[in-house]
Amino acid sequence: MAEQISTTNAWPGNPADLIPAGRKRLGWGLLAIATLALLAIIVVQILYKTEMSTVGFDTWRPVIYAYVLWGVALGAWQVLTRGEDGQRALFLLPALLFTIAMVIFPTLFGFYIALTDWNLSSFAGRRFNGLDNFWQMLADPYYRNALFNMVLYVLAVLVEYVIAFGLALLLNAQIRARKFFRVVFLLPLMLSPVAVSWMVGKSLMEYRFGPAATLARHLGWDNPAFFSDPITARISIMMLDAWTFIPFMMIMLLAGLQAMSREVLEAARVDGATAWQTFWQVTFPLMLPVSVTAVILRIIFKLKLADIIITLTSGGPGGATDSVSSFIYREYRDRSNVGYGTMLAMAYLVIIVVFVTWLLKFASRFVRNVN
């Protein structure tokens, strides 16, 4: 995401592409009708839902159909009025209209919900309460704790990176059965985190009979309870999450290693560098851009961490393993507290956007300085 691929304009607009005035009028007419129809259906629906009129639909779904039709009309308008340029715009329009409808509107709506006192299980309905949720959030020790956990979880990415780099180096060495090992190492990524947290977290690491616990006892840990005290529970969650996601970084790093020119390594060896020196002086600096991309992508995925925690510990013991997502999930599931939950989510969104923007800036400066 950091780098933008600069594109060249393959075909500049064709001024000779003459469009008859009638066709333009048709296009504009179509768009006007579609826009009016969309607005009309929204107005009718609002009036119906606020009980100011008796004509309307039970649900808002017709508005979606109207939006889709409006999108089609918009595309037709582009083609009819702008000819070939319009056909080009048609490539982008579906994805753009889809994303705007699915992200912008719900997010704006979310900011509104965040300012209301709204509990789905109570009959009181929605009540605007300004910044009350925000002040409540600032005083919420569990939310602060979840944010703190996210910091720890994100820091764990560095350990994952070291392991992934090691595995990538192993796979890049002159070995037999490379394809077999690559498939095997990739396997955890394809498994459903929910199934993994059941079969690994709850069964394999089970205190009494789990093989992992048995092994830990053999290694001299008398009381191998993986999820009962806060620190071990956090480490266990980190390990499980690492297990599923290490292949992701490993594959990116492996691709980077394979793209590296052999001559450079050869030259280092000829100059008499040891393997250790070669790695730190040649391989690692050359791999830095790929590493940064892999780590940033991984951090972005890490910030969404939820399903393992929800299924495995439900945030326990005492909120020690809660991620922000799993905390908000329970806020809704246990208390149906939509207003407050949304405020927490929106605050998280702001934090993430600031953090990731800083991370991208910092990373690009870091890569530039080292190289």
Partner: protein, 305 residues
């Protein structure tokens, strides 16, 4: 080992002892990590053939430690002796399974279609919507990747209720499409960038329209990239749990939600749990292994220039 050494340049080998030591270390590490990756899967599959005693005593090796039995699969209605009998659990399982198939294939397909089109447009043409140029539009799409599901979850819960999409497969398909769209655009942009412009210019000279050139010339070349994007999207959608848990209740529940809700009143039946987990994991693991080349291609798109 003597045969192998012919593969290496002399400078890589310092002394025979060091060479053997490094081989032992490399293969030792490889085997260790392969064990780490495979053992949980082995444990899951074998547990589905265990009875309660075998689970609680931690027996590991079939036929030596314990006598395998179809117990777990029977409880799902999928063992050889129960497969032809009616089974409500099996019906339930297949219903969830089909939900998972339809939502993940539907979402991945939809994302490939609109994502490829957008990526192609962004790579080949210059756009200007108001003050947004190509770079801004690309950034807009890719920035969706950092949007955590939890931000959209509660607004969508409310909105879906209003438009009657709660607990429907269509609702999930739309959300999953949104979730994988940035990844698809990321991969496809890389793909289209690697196709020389001259091909399309030739097609246009030969009288094809812009869209004709896209479908007849560009798409066939970009097909491997589309497969890569599709399989990666499939993996993400199939394993998605957060939205599915929040937005479905009875009709549209997917496999991960079914797996997560398996706590009975008398504790957990590990054998049936393991059978269910195996069945949930297997289709995608097989697909992933078969199309591993594409999966890797998708993950490395754009990261290595």
């Amino acid at each position: 080992m003597s045969v192998q050494t012919t593969d290496y340049t002399v400078s890589e080998i310092r002394s025979p002892a060091a060479f053997v030591a490094s081989r032992v270390f490399i293969y030792g590490a490889l085997v260790f990590w392969a064990f780490v990756c495979l053992f949980p899967i082995y444990w899951t599959i074998t547990t589905s053939f265990k009875s309660a005693v075998d689970v609680t005593q931690g027996h590991l090796i079939p036929f030596v430690d314990f006598q395998p039995d179809w117990k777990g699969w029977r409880s799902l209605g999928l063992s050889p002796d129960s497969i032809f009998e009616t089974s409500t659990v099996r019906d339930e399982f297949f219903k969830r399974f089909m939900n998972s198939v339809i939502t993940s294939v539907g979402a991945s397909g939809l994302a490939i279609i609109i994502g490829s089109l957008a990526a192609y447009g962004l790579v080949r043409y210059r756009y200007k919507f108001a003050w947004f140029k190509n770079e801004d539009i690309s950034f807009f799409f890719l920035s969706q990747l950092i949007l955590p599901p939890v931000v959209l979850a509660l607004p969508f819960l409310v909105l879906y209720r209003e438009v009657a999409l709660l607990d429907t497969r269509v609702g999930l398909v739309l959300l999953y499409t949104l979730m994988v769209l940035p990844i698809v655009i990321w991969i496809m942009r890389d793909q289209f960038n690697s196709i020389p412009v001259e091909l399309e210019e030739a097609a246009l000279v030969d009288g094809l329209s812009i869209w004709g050139a896209f479908f007849r010339i560009v798409m066939p070349i970009a097909l491997p990239g589309m497969v890569a994007a599709f399989i990666l999207a499939m993996v993400l959608c199939w394993n998605e749990y957060f939205f599915a848990a929040l937005l479905t209740s009875t009709d549209a529940k997917t496999i991960p939600v079914m797996v997560a809700s398996q706590t009975g009143s008398q504790g957990i039946n590990w054998w049936s749990m393991a059978a269910l987990a195996t069945a949930a994991i297997a289709p995608l693991a097989i697909l992933g292994i078969a199309l591993e080349r594409y999966l890797i291609m998708g993950m490395t798109a754009g990261s290595v220039k």
